[in-house]
């Protein structure tokens, strides 16, 4: 990687290079947000103008603030996605009740920090898993170790080994859900191959 500050092409060349970095799916996503913000889905003529304007603004944003492309991208599988969404919402409801009970119990709550090794090499899957884990009550991500692919999860009310294992299983289920719904073929293969725990019980160096 060369330092971009050292040699910066000027004028048209620079513009063309920047334009090459515009990612169409991201621009379309930003346009969608724009349309939602500006009442863009009404059947009227202004909507068309809004669509074009939104797209131009998205492209402009990506010209001014270019980001590296997301590799290797997503493979969308609707059926698995629906199953995952159902799972997440059910967990959210159940875990909310559990946390509520824990809140009002007289004795103080005891917790654990649990290490969960990821089975895939994809950063994207790790991010998705981390976000979903944080949204579900009772678990929060404390640290994501990227090089070793370990998520550290703080589990509320986990005071026994079984409870910790339960928390770990929850995160692994989420990972599986995301890989099945959005992962590439390599991710799925890695998921199938790795039931192996990279980190044993904390004693591995």
């Amino acid at each position: 990687m060369s330092d971009p500050r050292q040699k910066r092409p000027l004028g048209l060349t620079a513009l063309r290079r920047r334009l090459g970095k515009v990612q169409l799916p991201v621009a379309l996503g930003m346009t969608l947000v724009w349309m939602l913000l500006f009442k863009g889905f009404q059947p009227r003529w202004e909507s068309l103008g809004l669509l074009v304007l939104g797209f131009l603004v998205s492209v402009l944003i990506m010209l001014l603030f270019p980001l590296p492309p997301i590799t290797p991208g997503l493979r969308f599988r609707p059926l698995h996605m629906i199953r995952l969404a159902a799972y997440v919402f059910r967990e959210m409801a159940l875990a909310s009740i559990q946390v509520t009970i824990m809140t009002f119990r007289p004795e103080p709550v005891r917790n654990s920090m649990v290490a969960v090794p990821m089975r895939t090499e994809s950063d994207l899957m790790m991010v998705f898993t981390a976000i979903a884990t944080s949204i579900i009550p009772g678990t929060v991500i404390a640290e994501a170790e990227r090089t070793e692919r370990i998520l550290y999860v703080h589990v509320l009310g986990a005071d026994t080994e079984e409870a910790m294992e339960e928390g770990r299983r929850g995160v692994r289920k989420l990972e599986e859900g995301f890989v099945m719904a959005l992962g590439t073929r390599e991710d799925i293969a890695a998921l199938r191959a790795g039931g192996v725990e990279k980190l044993g019980r904390g004693e591995k160096t």
Binding site: V33, M35, L36, L37, K39, F41, Q42, M92, A93, A95, S96, V99, T100, T103, F104, P108, V109, R110, N111, S112, M113, V114, A115, A130, I131, T133, S134, I135, I136, P137, G138, V140, I141, A142, E143, A144, I150, Y152, H154, L156, A158, D159, T160, E161, M164, L199, G202, E203, K204, T205
Partner: protein
Amino acid sequence: MSEALITVLDWVAILCIFAGAALSLVAGAGLLRFPDLLSRMHTAAKPQVLGLLLVLVGIGIRLIPVETDVFSVGTLFLVGFFQMLTIPVAGHIVTRVAYRTERIDSGTMVRDEMAEHIEARRAADKNR
């Protein structure tokens, strides 16, 4: 839309908003009741996500019979989406900072595999 259906929808909306508000109340109570930062993070971030989603759904149901344009529901969708995206990040940052600056009360912690891991790596570095 028929009168009866609107009444039913109204009640569903009311129930959703009430449940959402109750969850937010639990979150507030949790903030006071839990002893240390990490467990407080749970209540600060979590019941509220579901609570907020329920309130949004309630508002959405309430809006459907009143006005037909997509704007309001679209905005609600955006609010929910960005909340779900940003709340974990905020929680993560707070937890991480607390951990790095060693403001963690280890008394409530039964087992800390992260500390064990860091310890093990430090020992390995020393032996090298």
